[in-house]
Symmetry: C2
Subunit: 322 residues, 2 copies
Amino acid sequence: MENTIGGLGEFALIRRVTGRFPATGDVILGPGDDAAVVAAPDGRTVATTDLLVEGRHFRRDWSTARDVGHRAVAQNYADVVAMGARPTGLLIGFAAPADLPLEWAEEFTLGVRDECAVAGGAVVGGDTVGSTVLTVAITALGDLQGRAPVRRDGARPGDVVAYCGHLGLSAAGLALLTAGTDGPAACLDEYRRPSPPYAAGPEAARLGATAMLDVSDGLAQDLGHVCRASGVGIDLDPGLLRPAPELVEAVRILGGGPARASAFMVSGGEDHALAATFPEGTDLPDHWHRIGRVLPAAEGERHVTVAGRVPERTGWDHFPGE
Amino acid sequence: MENTIGGLGEFALIRRVTGRFPATGDVILGPGDDAAVVAAPDGRTVATTDLLVEGRHFRRDWSTARDVGHRAVAQNYADVVAMGARPTGLLIGFAAPADLPLEWAEEFTLGVRDECAVAGGAVVGGDTVGSTVLTVAITALGDLQGRAPVRRDGARPGDVVAYCGHLGLSAAGLALLTAGTDGPAACLDEYRRPSPPYAAGPEAARLGATAMLDVSDGLAQDLGHVCRASGVGIDLDPGLLRPAPELVEAVRILGGGPARASAFMVSGGEDHALAATFPEGTDLPDHWHRIGRVLPAAEGERHVTVAGRVPERTGWDHFPGE
């Protein structure tokens, strides 16, 4: 029991991991009291929460504890920046079996710390409890810096659809792991530690994005939320969906051609790219890739098409194929 | 499967329960986008998180789904008011087996809604995932209304120690259930649905409380945090620890006398009373019960005593006895 979290005990574990988290200028009161106090300079706080359950959202044999720490932070702060906000604070609920190796908890903590350093927010609080299933609950807070939140319901016909970040790499990485095959590190790494383009969220808000979201369930499925919320259709141009070289290589290993690479880009989730709509004529930086157009749409047609056709697979739980 | 959450599916479940939650003036953007936006009028947000795991924090045969909903909200908003803040918003992570009856999820939702109505905050977001262990992760946000947060480290020798709310009823209720014995409804109810004195938190801050916390692990253990953080000792006066009539009755059923009732008050957790220290001479309202005094203390003596003696049992995981 000595090298497990059960052997160490809850309070000692909390003291041990809390010391790992540096404060930032947003932390008015950090861990250790009944609650934390986080700066909310413009009088509003952006807040989002996500659960990660072992066996469903991660596997200890496919991802290291550090990977899981990185991912837990990334997927939550991706939701914060998708509103156009800047990450400020994070709270971590950690439910774990008593026999969880202490090293796992400590490595997880370092992954959280390092991803927070990239995203810019601080860990301000948490809770540690026992459970038979390793479960991580993250809540992320953010600061809109005086801007309006970029919602899902503001897309207008004529708007340009663009994304920033990676599309399809994470799903290809998962497919490679599922197949028990080695493949491009970029795909495996993106599955284990997605790299959301944090700065692009506030940037899109400043550029006048009319709608934005983080691609977690797959590009077509997630843009479908924009379609329904905004009362529009979105048509993607397959010629603009250019797969990364690593995705092309992964598809070659998995077996398949350009259509399968496109399917990974359209249907694969968990890269945590940002997808947004912008007024036509917006001067987009090169890292925002134009991929389609917002169209007027009647009720019942408010969905995503690729060259006018509904893609066969749209969700993260469907395996993208030929 | 039809009447289970697995049969309904994640998105349908979210739509169904989200409709139950009314908005308040603090909700700038409610559930349904990547993140919520909550008012933080004074430029700061209080934030706290807690996990409830079935079999550890609740049992479905001892507590109804509504009870668990009430309790999940109560224990988190208790932490918010213990900082002297007003509850504003809540995020709910819900991990559940696919065979969880839909009715359980819906009743839980109603418990959450009703406790939010009492506490004054709104549900602004959440996440629903599958897990083999029913787990609820709550994050609560609050507004300090321009006041300084009441921390644990401000108690000064000479201060009065007082509490507001119930002490020992919840632990007595748990003891009755463990013994398989019926008993006073007030005890069983307090175990199932603790009733934190929400308004007393901001009130204590206005009255000039020097330190405050929510009693979740037991009065002596929790006040011990104040002692260590403030560098003081606290001595409780057993003559002022007057058990409620329902606690006296529960102790009579469980077997025991006045000493056991006192032990429940000093060591029993989860009533979510508020305990605070105030400058001597503070004009306390009657619902704040004076129970002791803050003392100067050397290193190693910064703990809680009862009439000068260290109580034998101080934690929630110790069963309070004679």
